[in-house]
């Protein structure tokens, strides 16, 4: 752990896992949607469901979906802020198997009508990970610019992505590969040491075998 995991983070209480981590899950999910959230269903699981209300987990998630960070003093008033912003939300219970005890399913609809389903888990100390995006394995902590690429399980797709990055001098921090079945759909999760330009992502979307590209940027709002 680095010293600012020990002395820090600066956050709105009461719990780093149930409050700060929950804000982060909302914040990152909004960015993955790529536009302001119009409406959202939040399905809580495990300890989030059992003690979430007392820990302000519900308000924390909504705050993050509105674009707030864990140290934003408006977090406790997130429901009122959502009303002002015209964002509708509704809570329920999640039916998950073998999920992390602090998990939430977010079913988001953006202002353009775009839909995205994200499963996030709070890991403790304010850290979190995105476990799934629209049913695809994702498994990243949003501590680096991250590419989530859904592709056909066939030779060359990984090379397409890594060559694109290498051509632009972007170093890969971590690389994870998953596949559902041989020759079926596969997923690549690539954490990068610096931002991937927008143009490169558009180029990637048009390559053979690449079905879908989702990008988490550390910088721009959308």
């Amino acid at each position: 752990m680095n010293i600012f995991d020990i002395v820090g983070p600066v956050m709105v209480g009461p719990s780093s896992s149930h409050t700060a981590g929950a804000v982060r899950i909302g914040f990152v999910s909004r960015k993955l949607l790529g536009e302001p959230v119009k409406s959202v269903r939040l399905l809580l699981y495990g300890s989030f469901l059992a003690t979430g209300k007392g820990h302000g987990t519900d308000r924390a998630l909504v705050a993050g979906l509105l674009g707030m960070q864990p140290d934003d003093e408006r977090v406790p008033f997130a429901f009122e802020e959502a009303k002002k912003a015209g964002m509708e939300f509704e809570f329920g219970e999640a039916n998950l198997k073998e999920a992390h005890p602090n998990s939430v399913v977010l079913l988001m609809t953006g202002e353009s009508g775009k839909k995205l389903e994200v499963i996030g888990a709070s890991l403790g100390g304010g850290r979190m990970k995105i476990c799934q995006i629209d049913g695809m394995e994702a498994n990243f902590c949003a501590e680096y610019p991250t590419l989530i690429v859904q592709n056909l399980d066939k030779p060359g797709c990984v090379a397409t992505v890594t060559t694109m990055l290498s051509d632009r001098g972007i170093n890969i921090a971590t690389l994870q590969l998953y596949r559902g079945s041989r020759g079926g759909d596969a997923v690549m999760v690539v954490e990068c040491d610096r931002e991937v330009p927008y143009g490169a992502i558009c180029w990637l979307r048009n390559q053979t075998g690449i079905k879908r590209v989702t990008y988490y940027s550390m910088e721009q709002e959308f």
């Binding site: 820090g8 983070p9 719990s15 780093s16 059992a50 007392g54 820990h55």
Partner: protein
């Protein structure tokens, strides 16, 4: 992290002819690839956030369950009237520890150190030290490095999470960090910093995490007081020349061992201890779900 024990930090300090806190700062610079000045300013920001949180306390907000809020104001008045038997220094430490922990429970902004539940301990002693003994901000920031390094070692060898080690891992760790910081501020040697860690942590070994309704409220808020006051007395003992018989690293290992052996019902599950007393069960029924 280049060091794995407090003993190693002491050895590196001796070898490099640098203070204890500097070993920790330099390691941070290596780990995160930042300049010393950037690291120092970031740590200063943590101290200022603590200060701001203390000053922003109003005593008007209640926690979600309604169990917590307003005690900091009661203590403020009592201490200001000069009634505290424990004197102005410890009185103020007590008051600040409650205020910060209440702020956390009431969804105000705090600095987790090492956790949100134990966020009152370090600021209570550091802000009071600055108020009443020496206000040199750079020195307080150095003390925060000392505290952070101690916390790193505890996290590495044992735990700083109530769910895995019980309250001894949260309030106990915060107390050990605060004791080390105070010994540093009082001009103690590196070995004395370690003694402060050992004495304070020994006194809180075995402390269970058994909060009512699983919320960071009761007994967490008031336990911040014992963590903070225990740090002051441990540091005073050390500065008087009292030495811990068991070295700090061994005490930390024992804390980890006790945490591992501790039944699950005493580790943040609300399935035992204070959380299952008849009164707590009654209160828990009324907490919104």
């Amino acid at each position: 992290m280049i060091y794995k024990s407090l003993k190693e930090i002491c050895e590196m300090a001796l070898e490099g002819q640098i203070p204890f806190w500097k070993v920790i700062q330099r390691d941070d610079c290596t780990e995160r690839n930042v300049e010393e000045s950037e690291s120092f300013e970031q740590m200063r920001a943590m101290y200022r956030a603590m200060k701001h949180a203390d000053e922003a306390y109003t005593g008007t907000r209640k926690s979600t369950s309604g169990m917590v809020g307003g005690d900091g104001k009661r203590l403020e008045q009592y201490v200001a009237e000069g009634k505290a038997m424990s004197g102005p220094f410890v009185g103020k430490v007590m008051e600040r520890a409650v205020k910060m922990a209440e702020s956390n429970a009431c969804m105000r902004r705090i600095v987790a150190a090492p956790t949100a539940g134990s966020c009152g301990v370090l600021p209570a002693v550091l802000l009071t030290y600055a108020d009443q003994i020496d206000a040199d901000e750079d020195k307080i920031v150095e003390a925060l490095y000392t505290a952070a390094g101690i916390g790193q070692i505890i996290a590495h060898r044992a735990s700083i999470s109530g769910a895995s080690g019980g309250c001894q891992a949260e309030i106990g760790s915060a107390s050990a960090m605060a004791a080390g910081a105070l010994v540093h501020l009082q001009g103690g040697s590196n070995e004395e910093i370690c003694s402060g860690v050992a004495i304070s942590l020994k006194s809180l070994l075995g402390l269970t995490c058994d909060p009512i309704g699983g919320l960071v409220e009761v007994p967490c808020v008031k336990r911040n007081v014992i963590g903070a006051v225990n740090a002051v007395t441990a540091a005073d003992m050390v500065m008087a020349g009292v030495v811990s018989v068991i070295p700090a690293d061994e005490v930390i290992d024992v804390m980890g061992e006790i945490g591992n052996e501790m039944p699950k019902k005493y580790k943040e599950t609300a399935e035992g201890g204070l959380a299952t007393t008849p009164t707590a069960m009654e209160i828990a029924k009324k907490i919104p779900h």
